[in-house]
Amino acid sequence: MSTGTASAAAGLTRPFATVSPRTRTRIPLIVTAVLLLVMFGVGSVRYEGFLSAQVVLNLLIDNGFLLVVAVGATFVILTGGIDLSVGSMVALSTTLTAWLVESHGWPLAAVIPLVLLVGAASGTLMGWIIHTFEIQPFIVTLAGMFLARGLCYTISTESITISDPTTAGIAQTRLYGPGGLFVSIPVVIALAVLVTAFVVLHHTRFGRNVYALGGNESSARLMGLPVGSTKIAVYAVSGLCSALGGVLLTFYMLSGYALHAMGMELDAIAATVIGGTLLTGGSGFVLGTALGVLVLGMIQTVVNFQGTLSSWWTRIVIGALLLVFIVLQRLMSGRRPAAD
């Protein structure tokens, strides 16, 4: 009898299925990577100067800050939440950094920790409100979005240029590799954030709690997982990442401005979702998010290289490329919707 059960149980893994379910969840990731390569190939054929490693590195240079922000958004989305405040938090961080450094002469080394703290603290606050009062994250983070952007304006409606030599120095430093290829310091930071996030999500208790929470919140609670603190923590992570993204953007732009990073929350969410994370939570990979960021960046690069598009055609082409990408991604990953 008991052998019967054991063998039946062994059969539970669908012995005839060719791909294990675990691998199956990674298919979208692989497909996305392949499509990205295809896109790069097509670009190389079509445009002069496209086929160069620097184009790829520029993708990182130009999107490092978005990557950091999107990594933060991934944490939140994995729990089934959403954080609309990230774009405004980025703007607030740039404004705050520039304001403190320029108008108050604070040293950058003091400003950056402070800005990161502000980001993490405001994320924590939002998470706390969401958890304690059971309010939908959409509204709370929308209020956070208004507030952060509003604070930018109250600090300064004008763009604040940073002439501080340390900041400018970091911003203009290029790390050269072989063949005259270079990246900027923010790229290194962004990649470090990505790796850290990967380790945290896949190899720490907190990370696994994030997935469990996204899978089923009430179950996670009944399983005795620290639902409240995990929830608060993901918003804190998101706040921290957007503050860091803001710092990186400050380096990128060498300025603080209330209108920076307009709509970046949508870019971050889109990158995450294109990277295969389900908006309903519980499923996704942070490496996918990186691919999502690259997809958005690649589309932008292709459009820039095209160089003949009028303003509206730019939009239409971006939309069309996105459409082609998404549809191929879906068709190649198997027709079943990933949800349910």
Binding site: G4, T5, A8, A9, R205, A212, R221, L222, M223, G224
Partner: protein, 519 residues
């Protein structure tokens, strides 16, 4: 009414309960779910918590373990007043619980579901290989040889239930609470679970056990606390009760219909088998879940599906309903070939399927009881032909009464109903579509004995009226009692179809299930 509780004199000699509740009150909007309930759990005992569907068992457990705050009363842990703010605190204090519905995360692996929150770590990071190994070891304790890296959601409900139990047991708690852990388990798994529970009891763990199976109570438990309508009926040593008195105390009266259906309608079966079958499946198969099978179902016939846990009973049913689409083979209904690609197709041809997994595949929690009941009928009619509100009310009231769903308010949100009552709602939904073929996958899961007898009678009556029924149940007795014929599954393969006559004894059926061959 209650006999004064006496601590078990035999064990440990420790008269102090490890967990005690006094005068617990819990009020939900419109429902006083618990009213002055008391409970005592001593180390080294298995304590049964009994009561009808909706009596308040699960609520009591949730109040004790910090899921719901109590509205009144005291909870004592080791003799000191203590309240858990959430299940995490309960777990930290040594109270480990398996709640009624499977409460695990379908999106992470089996190993993680067993060990999440207590993962083995190395250098602060999760030690994955140690974790997989540990999980696999724990699962073999229940003789469950799963691939622990597979996603939990890919497994059948029974397997998930076992994983939940394994998780709770591993906490090595002072108190283990099991809310209907056996509701979809086979007798083999039940036996294994009981061995495990006894072992824990002997180690001094206090076990609170909720079930609707009387034999399990008498088999395993030392004492019983009985709830009725949210009130404490009493606490008894098991020796003081007989099955009949236990039931009487639960329902507060005589159970007239406890004598179950005795007739086995095998003569009819023989006679039906000669007529043309309502549904005929030929070489129906789906890669990875069921190997090709043939099945005939006649009108008015109850076919039981028997098999071990995970043998593929649910999968067979899902194919017939189009819930999963078949890779090969064909189905004909009344002689005409049909394609059952989606549930819609099947429903249009008079097939109904009551899923075993009421939480994720059955009920729409936010909707009311009324809406859940009329949902299938309404879906079949399409949105342009709405059932009028009066008609809906009428149907809802009829079935609430017929199945004794409580609370009887058709406008209550279905997720607030007790587990057994939810199951009844699900049954009502399909019964009222008056299907030609009714597929019932574990229809009596979590249903109390009184209601179970009612449902069995209902199935028999429906069959008598000409409905074909495909009946899946982990309870062999139930299958034997109701079915005209029994199809046996083993390892995703249909190995035998037995006509349920006097020669089919439980033993013979068990052998067939185990060996795959009819002796």
């Amino acid at each position: 009414m209650a006999t004064p509780p006496t601590p078990r004199p035999t064990d440990s000699g420790d008269p102090q309960p490890v967990l005690e509740a006094q005068g617990i009150r819990k009020q939900f909007p419109g429902v006083l779910a618990l009213d002055g309930v008391a409970l005592r759990l001593f180390p080294g005992e298995v304590h049964a918590l009994m009561g009808e569907n909706g009596a308040g068992k699960s609520t009591l457990i949730k109040v004790l373990t910090g899921v719901h705050p109590a509205d009144g009363g005291t909870i004592l842990v080791d003799g000191r007043p203590h309240v858990f703010a959430d299940p995490l605190q309960a777990q930290q204090a040594g109270v480990s619980t398996v709640y009624q519905e499977v409460n695990l995360c379908p999106n992470i692996s089996v190993a993680e579901n067993v060990l999440i929150g207590r993962e083995p770590r190395r250098f602060g990071l999760i030690h994955w290989s140690a974790m997989r190994q540990r999980a696999a070891e724990l699962l073999t304790e229940l003789d469950l040889g799963l691939d622990v890296t597979s996603l939990l959601g890919s497994h059948s409900l029974a397997v998930q239930q076992l994983v939940a139990i394994v998780r709770a047991v591993d906490v090595s708690a002072k108190v283990l609470v099991l809310d209907e852990p056996t509701s979809s388990l086979d007798r083999e798994e039940v036996a294994q679970l009981f061995t495990l529970v006894r072992r824990l009891r002997d180690r001094g763990v206090a076990i609170l056990f909720v079930t609707h199976f009387l034999d399990q109570v008498f088999d395993l438990c030392d004492r019983v606390t009985i709830l009725r309508n949210g009130r404490l009926e009493g606490e008894y040593p098991i020796g003081e009760l007989t099955p009949v008195t236990l039931v009487q105390r639960m329902i507060g009266g005589e159970l007239a219909t406890l004598d179950q259906l005795s007739v086995r309608a095998h003569e009819e079966a023989a006679q039906r088998a000669t007529s043309e079958p309502f549904l005929q499946a030929r070489r129906l198969t789906r890669t990875g879940s069921v190997e090709p099978y043939d099945l005939d179902i006649h009108a008015g016939e109850v076919i039981g599906l028997a098999g071990l846990l995970g043998s593929g009973r649910t999968e067979v049913a899902r194919l017939l309903f189009g819930a999963d689409s078949a890779d090969a083979g064909e189905v004909s209904i009344e002689g005409r070939k049909v394609l059952l690609r989606t549930p819609r197709h099947a429903i249009a041809r008079g097939i109904a399927f009551c899923s075993e997994n009421r939480k994720s595949e059955g009920l729409v929690g936010e909707l009311t009881v009324r809406e859940n009941i009329v949902l299938a009928l309404q879906a079949a009619r399409g949105w342009t032909r709405p059932l009028s509100r009066t008609k809906q009310d009428e149907l809802a009231r009829h079935w609430i009464q017929a199945l004794d769903i409580r609370p009887g308010d058709p406008e209550a949100q279905v997720r607030h109903l007790s587990g057994g009552n939810q199951q009844k709602v699900l049954l009502a939904r399909w019964l009222l579509t008056a299907p030609r073929l009714l597929i019932l996958d574990e229809p009596t899961r979590g249903i109390d004995i009184g209601a179970k007898a009612e449902i069995q009678k209902l199935v028999a009556r429906l069959a008598g009226e000409g409905t074909a029924v495909l009946f899946i149940s982990a309870e062999l007795e139930e299958v034997l009692r109701l079915s005209h014929r029994i199809a046996v599954l083993r390892d995703h393969r249909m190995v035998a179809t037995l006509t349920n006559d006097d020669t089919v004894t439980p033993e013979r059926l068990l052998t067939t299930i185990a060996t795959g061959a009819d002796s």
